[in-house]
């Protein structure tokens, strides 16, 4: 019961936050003055001068889609190089514990790709592999800027959609804004202030925030235990707000130092959903139709709630294997019952089920319980969240621009069915737009299915596979889905890094898995970014037609149903066979293989 209340409360808080934060972001990216301008304005100007952003009399010089895309790639490539160097050199940089070595090159390749692409897939254990300097100056920085890249790409795309065409000879024709200006604003005005407040709340709840290094305790049994400490709370807030998900500790949000209380658990979910949800309102405002923002929000919310309910029910019910083994899964006084394997008892079934739905429909990938211990049907939920191309809220920015690709496809099919050349906000969707939307929708299934086939079908891939049977298949599929959608959560089992001694002595990466995953993360991040920017560039040059009764409305409940139908159908048709062989089998049989 309290589980459903928590879901209802979460939806209510997100609904309330969406127009506020969405409107704020619309003002920030329009360059308007906001509350924080007096404080941050000088910093912003300083940064932009340092970056040598060119200005003309109308403000910073705009970029067309190609220039914007080039800037995204340039910035991300530089970030990648810095992060790679940091992780490889951490043992000679200050702040590393004396027995901590450099990360192996292949795991570093995977990790650098992971954090620059906002994925935060972790083939390593944070506290045993990375120094606090690596975490703070490497990963946390990427948590900010990779999230900012996602947001600004979306803003550029929406600018293209909202553009009124106009005079082809004008300097602003086809402009999507200026990447560097947007990037600075996203970090300064959106991510930093909210993370700052969030970190304070986390500290108030008991999350760790110290540069004091590790501490040694004497245990009751008389032994000693080394506790790794670090600046956790500050990294935690942006981990969630930026839909990053990479935990300071290996067990992520199940760790009391990261996620101390039921309240911090709830706050975590709000932080994760805040920006992806609010961007729908930003979109609505920027295209001058707030209903449009709510329509997209509605489609996302319906799918999110459905998945959360399924996961909750599945975990409450338990698995056929548990029933077959005669384990009690019914609730009784003092226990919720259900499948409690791998659950953090502080959060129980509902707190875990909801948290994991939130972090897998968004591309956060933070977890507060063991995903590999989910029931078959329960495990299907995070896979579905990712298999839908991470558009159910999704990553900051990336969720909505991915969703807009599906909107284009839905508009095309729906437009045909009402007998008009399909239009999005009055702009005709023609061969070029469909080509781009299909490219954008295709890359993900192609990547994930190919990766899974290599993981389960080649000797190089099978090395990483710890388990056999349907569980082993699910683990390989999950690793591909997670890296292939920039999510970052893991079903465990499928590994790219082996650490025999709890530190890096004797540790080795599994090169094939590291490279395969690293390349996949880079492809699924930057290929669609270029595709949506090209789409926006194409739409920016089109003159919108006024809407009339014969035009397909994209802000109606009917369209929301069509949009959901397209997303579900594309996802289902792509992954149905793979889902059957993994999670579905486990929900059909009690056999453990």
């Amino acid at each position: 019961m309290s589980g459903w209340l928590q879901l209802a409360l979460l939806v209510a808080v997100v609904v309330a936050l969406t127009p506020l934060l969405g409107g704020y972001m619309a003002r920030v990216f329009a360059g308007e003055r906001v509350l924080l301008s007096p404080l941050l304005g000088p910093v912003e100007r300083l940064l932009l001068r340092a970056m040598r952003v060119r200005r003309d009399e109308d403000g910073p010089v705009g970029q067309d889609w190609k220039a914007y895309g080039r800037s995204v790639l340039l910035f991300s490539f530089a970030s990648w190089l810095v992060l790679y160097a940091l992780l490889r050199l951490q043992s000679v940089l200050p702040g590393a514990p004396k027995d901590m070595g450099a990360m192996p090159w292949d795991v570093t390749f995977n990790t650098a790709s992971s954090f620059v692409t906002n994925t935060n897939w972790q083939y390593y254990g944070g506290e045993t592999t990375l120094s606090s300097v690596s975490q703070m100056t490497g990963l946390a920085v990427q948590n900010f800027v990779s999230a900012a890249v996602g947001i600004v790409v979306l803003i550029a795309v929406v600018r293209g959609i909202a553009a009124r065409g106009g005079d082809p000879s004008s300097r602003r024709f086809g402009s999507l804004g200026n990447f560097w200006v947007d990037l600075v604003r996203a970090v300064l005005y959106v991510l930093l202030p909210i993370s700052f407040l969030g970190a304070l709340v986390f500290v108030s709840q008991g999350a760790l925030q110290t540069l004091g290094g590790e501490t040694t305790l004497n245990t009751l049994a008389g032994g000693t235990q080394t506790l790794v400490r670090g600046p956790v709370a500050s990294q935690e807030a942006i981990k969630l707000l930026g839909t990053n998900g990479g935990g300071y500790f290996n067990v992520n949000s199940a760790m009391p130092f990261e996620n101390p209380t039921a309240f911090s658990n709830f706050l975590s979910m709000v932080l994760v959903l805040a920006i992806p949800a609010a961007l729908t309102a930003t979109y609505g405002r920027m295209v001058g139709n707030r209903r449009q923002g709510w329509a997209i929000f509605g489609a996302m919310a319906v799918m999110f709630v459905a998945l959360a309910v399924v996961l909750s029910l599945a975990e409450q019910h338990g698995s056929p294997a548990q029933h077959a083994a005669g384990l009690a899964t019914a609730s009784f006084d003092g226990s919720t019952g259900g499948n409690l394997v791998g659950k953090e008892q502080r959060f129980g079934i509902s707190g875990s089920a909801l948290f994991n739905t939130v972090t897998t429909v968004t591309s956060t990938g933070a977890v507060n319980s063991a995903m590999e211990s989910l029931t078959g049907l329960g495990g299907l939920v995070p896979m579905t969240g990712m298999g839908s191309s991470e558009v159910i809220f999704g990553g900051v920015g990336s969720g909505l621009y991915g969703m807009l690709l599906f909107v284009v496809l839905a508009v095309f099919v729906g437009g045909l069915m009402v007998g008009r050349t399909p239009e999005l906000h009055g702009k005709k969707i023609e061969a070029r737009e469909i080509k781009l939307a299909m490219l954008g929708a295709l890359y993900m299934p192609l990547t994930v299915l190919t990766m899974t086939a290599l993981a389960v079908g080649t000797d190089h891939g099978k090395v990483s596979n710890a388990a056999g049977g349907p569980q082993g298949f699910s683990e390989a599929l999950y690793a591909s889905l997670s890296q292939g959608n920039n999510n970052g959560s893991a079903f465990a089992g499928y590994t790219g890094f082996v650490q025999p001694n709890g530190n890096n002595d004797g540790a080795f990466g599994i090169t094939f898995a590291d490279l395969l995953g690293g390349v996949a993360m880079l492809v699924v991040r930057f290929f669609p970014i270029l595709v949506v920017l090209a789409l926006a560039g194409s739409l920016a040059r089109k003159r919108p037609a006024p809407t009339g009764p014969g035009t397909l409305r994209t802000d109606s409940p009917t369209f929301v149903v069509l949009l959901i139908g397209v997303i579900v159908l594309v996802g289902a048709l792509t992954f149905f066979p793979a889902f059957l062989l993994g999670p579905v089998v486990q929900s059909l049989t009690g056999h453990l293989y």
């Binding site: 045909l416 069915m417 009402v418 007998g419 295709l442 899974t452 079908g457 009764p549 062989l581 056999h591």
Partner: protein, 729 residues
């Protein structure tokens, strides 16, 4: 432009005829032959979806031949262990057969659509007899060698050798060969009726025609190419849809290719034949097979309505039209004004006014004049013979100077009585000049009143006395308001274009139910209006016939030229209406919308079908995966499905299909026969209802989306009952 509306009654008859001919053996037989000719891979490669099917057919045929000749005992994975292994030898044969049939069915659909146009093209070709043209300056030339600028002489009884403009003379011409209209039409030099078409016959008189066509580029040639589909190029929307379908095919290709390692990992095998069957079942073959048939049939439907679209792009654009410009005269109103009321001055009886007005009109043969006489006769028993008995009538015709007409009646005593009707100020001047009587008080008010109502006032005077005003009214054609309501429901605004003053135009516009009017229109203002609408992102359609319409026709996104119009207009527009019916635009728009709806509906249907196909084929493939004999396993729901080695996924055989082989075969048989079953929808088009976009979307999503999910479950089960139950597969 007086003929036209009548043809509306002829059209439904024509449509009935075309439907009856859907399975005409004369079209079906060559279509079957064509369907085999089109198996040529060079033809198929233009349609990626069907090309994949053909490749699949080739590979499975190879597998069957290899098995039958003993070159290979199986197709690689066959026979290795449980699950899908050990498929019987006939399986590859049956799959190959149905894949070939899938391609053939698609070809039949396309050939049927082309065949319907071909019959019409043959009739047209028969007209293109080789005539010899007589040049004006003596000499002769074969009709096929005529070049633009040649002037030819055509006498009564001769066939006009090529498209051109009448430069001298007037003639009645039989154009039934291209329009189907048997009544001859007048063609004359100058004005808006100067265009003649090669192949038509002069019935009377003699005309000089200046040829305007290049050799081989005549109207007739283009028409033949169009109805045959030879000139068909993919329209922009077809290209976009083609990309969508190709993209989906690529996804499904990856889904099937990656399935083999998945199944291997799960401890079973899947044969190449089965994977190909799955691929063909998943890719959107239904819409892929019918796509070009839908396009050809759309053009054909226009031809059947006597409209020639000069490009498929124009037909598609007509579905997107936002604004429709319609000429008032002849389109919205009957060509002529009609007397509607007599408004007498104080002290004058209505009957007296009626009689005098009618007397002034007895000799007036204009439609307005006749309508005054008619109204007077019907309302006040006016008898022209009675009125003029015993007098001598002298007709005073209308001139641009007097702007009046009437009669002078000389009675037996020799007294002359002058009655006049005409423009208000002209009659007032006439009365004032004659000096007798004066202008009654209420006259100005009555004249203004009529003008304010959108009518044309005619003052009537008898000698020096003004008796009253005749109210001439523009009569809106019956049914116009309903048509405009229908257009509005489609999302199309209508703008009436007229040379009338604003007040009159606004009144008539209101009466007809148009959304806006352009008053005091000139060709320049018309062009400016189109450009202004286009600036706002709207698509504009218009009809026109005169040479001065040509710039506007060319500027409009959809310009429908009347066949009776000038050659310039016919060249400028992108469609020609052979019936010269300006309201035909409504039907053209409907055909354009129908074209897109049919594509969208069948695409949705095709993709929605995949769910059921998955439920038929995947349990068959996965039956042997993760097999176990664990004692706690629940009993399979389907008792018959697979042998002892069946795994938990065999329970997903929701349709309870007999065997894995019959399940796969049933799915591809359904996939194939749904193509011919949907041919009637493809050729006739999904019915368009002007419901508004939202309601239309809901309806089509329900019928083709939900229907597309449910229908194959029923169909595949039914086929399985035959394949497994009767044939024993």
């Amino acid at each position: 432009m007086t003929e036209g509306p009548d043809t509306a009654t002829a059209a439904p008859e024509g449509r009935r005829r075309s439907e009856a001919r859907l399975l005409d053996p004369e079209i079906l037989r060559p279509a079957l032959v064509q369907s085999l000719v089109k198996l040529d891979p060079r033809v198929q490669v233009r349609n990626p979806v069907m090309f994949v099917v053909e490749l699949g057919a080739v590979v499975t045929t190879g597998i069957w031949i290899a098995q039958a000749t003993g070159l290979s005992a199986n197709d690689g994975a066959l026979g290795a262990g449980g699950g899908n292994g050990g498929q019987p030898a006939w399986f590859a044969f049956v799959v190959a057969l149905w894949l070939w049939l899938t391609v053939v069915f698609a070809n039949v659909a396309e050939a049927l659509a082309e065949g319907r146009g071909k019959a019409q093209a043959d009739a047209l070709r028969a007209m293109r007899t080789e005539t010899t043209a007589r040049l004006k300056d003596g000499g002769e030339k074969a009709a096929g060698d005529l070049r633009p600028g040649d002037v030819v002489v055509v006498d009564a009884g001769e066939v006009i050798p090529g498209d051109g403009t009448v430069v001298e003379g007037i003639a009645s011409v039989d154009e039934s060969a291209i329009t189907g209209e048997s009544a001859p039409v007048i063609r004359e030099a100058g004005g808006d009726r100067s265009a003649v078409t090669g192949g038509t016959r002069v019935l009377s008189d003699r005309i000089l025609v200046e040829i305007t066509q290049e050799p081989g580029g005549s109207f007739l040639d283009r028409m033949i190419a169009l109805v045959e589909g030879a000139a068909r190029r993919k329209t922009p929307n077809e290209v976009a849809l083609g990309i969508l379908l190709a993209g989906l095919s690529i996804v499904f290709l990856v889904v099937t290719v990656t399935l083999r390692p998945f199944v291997d990992f799960a401890g079973s095998t899947v044969s190449t034949t089965t994977l190909i069957a799955l691929l063909v079942a998943l890719i959107p073959t239904t819409i892929g097979a019918l796509l070009s048939a839908i396009g050809i049939a759309g053009m054909d439907r226009l031809v059947r309505r006597n409209v020639l679209a000069l490009s498929g792009r124009a037909v598609e654009a007509s579905g997107d039209v936002d604004v429709l410009l319609l000429d008032k005269t002849g389109t919205i109103t009957l060509g002529n004004r009609q007397a509607a009321a007599f408004l007498p001055m104080p002290g004058v009886g209505e009957e007296e006014l009626a009689h005098v007005a009618a007397l002034a009109s007895v000799a007036d043969e204009t439609p307005e004049g006749r309508s005054i006489v008619t109204l007077a006769r019907e309302s006040f028993a006016f008898d022209p013979d009675d009125a003029t008995r015993g007098g001598h009538l002298e007709f005073v015709p209308f001139t641009a100077q007097t702007r009046m007409s009437g009669v002078d009646v000389e009675d037996l005593q020799g007294a002359v009585r002058s009655v006049r009707k005409g423009a208000g100020d002209a009659v007032i001047r006439w009365v004032e000049e004659s000096g007798s009587g004066g202008v009654p008080e209420g006259l100005r008010a009555a004249l203004d009143h009529v003008a304010g109502e959108g009518g044309t006032p005619l003052a009537v005077a008898d000698g020096g006395r003004v008796l009253g005003v005749v109210y001439l009214k523009d009569v809106v054609k019956p049914g116009m308001r309903e048509r405009f309501d229908r257009l509005r429901a489609m999302g199309i605004r209508t703008i009436m274009v007229t040379g009338d003053n604003r007040l009159t135009a606004a009144k008539i516009g209101e009466e007809a139910g148009v959304d806006d009017v352009l008053a005091e229109a000139t060709p320049e203002r018309k062009l400016a209006l189109i450009k202004e609408q286009q600036e706002g992102g709207r698509l504009v359609a218009m009809t026109g016939d005169g040479t001065n319409d040509a710039p506007a026709l060319a500027q409009a996104d959809v310009g429908v030229a009347m066949n009776t119009g000038t050659q310039a207009a016919r060249e400028a527009g992108n469609m020609v209406d052979l019936d010269s019916d300006p309201t035909k635009l409504i039907e053209i728009v409907e055909v354009g919308k129908q074209l897109l709806i049919t594509r969208g509906a069948l695409t949705t249907f095709s993709i929605a079908n995949d769910i059921a196909k998955y439920f038929a084929i995947l349990p068959a493939i996965f039956a042997g995966t993760w097999s176990t004999t664990h004692p706690t396993d629940p009993a399979p729901l389907a008792s018959s499905a697979v042998g002892a080695a069946e795994g938990p996924l065999a329970r997903l055989n929701l349709m309870d299909l007999g065997t894995p082989e019959s399940a796969i075969i049933s799915a591809i048989v359904f996939n194939a026969i749904v193509i011919p079953l949907l041919v009637p929808i493809a050729l006739r088009g999904v019915r368009y209802r002007p419901l508004g976009a939202n309601a239309l979307l809901r309806r089509n999503m329900l019928v083709y989306g939900l229907g597309g999910i449910v229908a194959p479950f029923v169909g595949i089960k039914a086929i399985d009952l035959v394949v497994h139950g009767v044939l024993g597969a």
